[in-house]
């Protein structure tokens, strides 16, 4: 089997591309979910499992499992914390912040001055705003970030939260 090198998409009714489109919506909750997917994309159950195993090994799939909606669980405070770090230290600090248990996502992004000077983004989730801010205070202290300009953007409302749609397939 060839590796999924041709990720930028080959639209088609069958095969791995169709499988990816179906997987973005999640597994059917039946006893043989892979068999059900296999039937929809003209593959065998074994081929489907082999592709998924391959995508996991290659890193295209970061994790495979239950994707929960944190808000529905009561994890209501969601802060996007953005920092304006010097370019020469942003990667090192990004790795350090990513290792913080309270930080659930951490990315370096391109600045858009003058509108947007911030280059490091991290997400902190918690049940309440005060807990998120307390966790942030600890992080600032631990990493000596007191002098670094930052903004905390709490979310007010989630209008949409679902998996990515990376394939050319139409949605059913």
């Amino acid at each position: 089997m060839s590796l999924p090198a041709a990720l930028p998409t080959i639209p088609g009714p069958a095969g791995p591309q169709r499988l990816r489109a179906l997987l973005e919506r999640g597994l059917p909750l039946t006893e043989r979910p892979w068999q059900a997917l296999a039937e929809q994309c003209g593959m065998s159950e074994g081929e489907v499992l082999a592709w998924v195993e391959c995508w996991q090994r290659e890193g295209l799939i970061k994790r495979l499992g239950l994707v929960v909606r944190h808000h529905a669980l009561g994890i209501r405070a969601n802060a996007m914390v953005v920092w304006d770090l010097p370019d020469e230290s942003v990667a090192e600090m990004g790795r350090r912040l990513a290792a913080e248990p309270a930080v659930t996502l951490c990315y370096r992004r391109r600045r858009q001055p003058p509108e947007w000077p911030y280059n490091l983004f991290c997400m902190i989730h918690g049940s309440r705003r005060e807990r998120v801010l307390a966790a942030l205070d600890e992080i600032v202290g631990r990493h000596g970030l007191q002098g670094i300009p930052r903004r905390v953007l709490f979310s007010l409302k989630a209008y949409k939260q679902c998996g990515g749609r990376y394939t050319h397939e139409e949605q059913p």
């Binding site: 499992g65 239950l66 929960v68 669980l73 370096r108 709490f154």
Partner: protein
């Protein structure tokens, strides 16, 4: 908040990642938890119905799965819901949040490739009649393992 019992929590704690990759994954999960396959399937269906569970399946690496971009737009608060609805209708949008900032709507646009992504962004920008703040990712530092749910904290008064 949805009422979850011990089995629901054990399912979430054990299987945010490492879903068994075999023909009957729910039977394998059931065996690990000491329950029946039917119970696992029923619980997952119930969690999905009460919207705790978005789906069971893969989380793709944005950077490798195709093209994606975090974007923001600044709109008057009174128009926020209407603009958010327009953003949600736009193909490829998978996250869309209101946040406390002058840039008050934040969303992620996804596409199969950069060309399609740019076309989608330009179409949306034109529809909204407002400039989008485009914040492409340079580097990711976090591996999404599905973070542990702080059950005790959620139960605190």
């Amino acid at each position: 908040m949805a009422e979850l019992d011990a089995l629901d929590r054990r399912l979430i704690d054990a299987f945010q990642r490492d879903l068994p990759l075999c023909p009957r994954p729910f039977a394998a999960m059931a065996e690990r938890l000491g329950v029946s396959e039917a119970q696992v399937v029923q619980r997952l269906q119930a969690l999905q119905r009460c919207e705790v569970l978005s789906r069971v399946g893969p989380v793709f690496d944005h950077a490798r799965a195709g093209a994606s971009l975090l974007a923001a737009v600044s709109v008057p608060e009174a128009e926020r819901d209407a603009v958010a609805a327009a953003i949600n209708r736009s193909p490829g949008v998978n996250h869309n949040y209101a946040r406390e900032h002058r840039y008050n709507l934040w969303f992620v646009m996804t596409a199969a490739d950069e060309v399609q992504l740019e076309a989608r962004l330009e179409a949306l920008e034109e529809e909204l009649g407002r400039p989008l703040l485009r914040l492409p990712m340079v580097e990711g530092y976090h591996i999404d393992l599905g973070f542990p749910i702080p059950w005790a904290e959620l139960e605190a008064p």
